[in-house]
Symmetry: D2
Amino acid sequence: MNEIMKLMDEILAFTEERDWDQFHNPVNLAKSIAIEAGELLECYQWSDRADPHAVEEELADVLNYCLQLANKLNLDPIEIVRKKMKKNALKYPVEKSKGRSDKYDQL
Amino acid sequence: MNEIMKLMDEILAFTEERDWDQFHNPVNLAKSIAIEAGELLECYQWSDRADPHAVEEELADVLNYCLQLANKLNLDPIEIVRKKMKKNALKYPVEKSKGRSDKYDQL
Amino acid sequence: MNEIMKLMDEILAFTEERDWDQFHNPVNLAKSIAIEAGELLECYQWSDRADPHAVEEELADVLNYCLQLANKLNLDPIEIVRKKMKKNALKYPVEKSKGRSDKYDQL
Amino acid sequence: MNEIMKLMDEILAFTEERDWDQFHNPVNLAKSIAIEAGELLECYQWSDRADPHAVEEELADVLNYCLQLANKLNLDPIEIVRKKMKKNALKYPVEKSKGRSDKYDQL
């Protein structure tokens, strides 16, 4: 079994042990990802330099909820990132987007 | 090489090919995670039922930026989630938190 | 009638005309505020310089949903900001917080 | 002077007294709005019922930063909401959008 599947099993065991599955429906997980993303951003609220330990913990929380949502929706986290990158490669062809941060509809 | 490291290499190649590394500093990646988390939440804005394809794409974007931030900060995404879960296990002991959605300081 | 109450009435008329009140419960409004805050942040995703017109529109969307949530909960938007500032004045006394961006529990 | 301008003056006095203007540039304010929107959403993380006092405080924080950003960019908060509503009225004509939560490009 690969590493990420093993981790997902550990997350599910953690959740089941606490009988938290009842709270972890997709909409609550989507809210949780946004909430934790806000806490991660808080590390950088007033400065570009953040406490590395705080960043690590908040990033872990975002990832944890992302993996839970992926699991809930039967999505393979690795595959969906790869698939979306293929789509992005078409939206952002190298020759047009090189060195530019513009959105695809502005290129 | 494990699956997630392979994916991270693909993401980095995508970014380097476009010379986007200049934009992808930690604070911009933290902003990007929050922005994409907002787009993911938008799938569930008015209803608990969301378009599965849209959710898949937005979740992929959140994960992509999370992996980029982890890479930038030399963090192993699997390990930080595991480490944070160990901490959460202490904050949320099974006997106290079972079946409850309260925050640890309210248990 | 003061300006902000007049605006709130206009917002409510807009919503009622479209029969959108059924969607605008507190939790959906809270999600909407976070979603629009993400779109506002997107204006600053890769640079500290943003398109002023885009910022204006996204800020307007955040404010609109904030006023709707205040109305839904019978809160006076002016009064709650004033009340919270009084609390913040105690958490951040001038002598301790002057020129520092630290959180109150770090002062 | 109208109510909201009076409140904005109080917010600015609070900020100046603490010499915080140096931190409150537009990008940091946009981040702060997203962070506080996340804290507001946290009130509704696991349930549609939230602690009214917590909601009031978090909504106040979102509004406070919104007013600061408006001030920084010389925008009248009332006028920008009104202006955006006029635009939304065209995107969401009553006959097309009545009773529907669809986005304008799906109507």
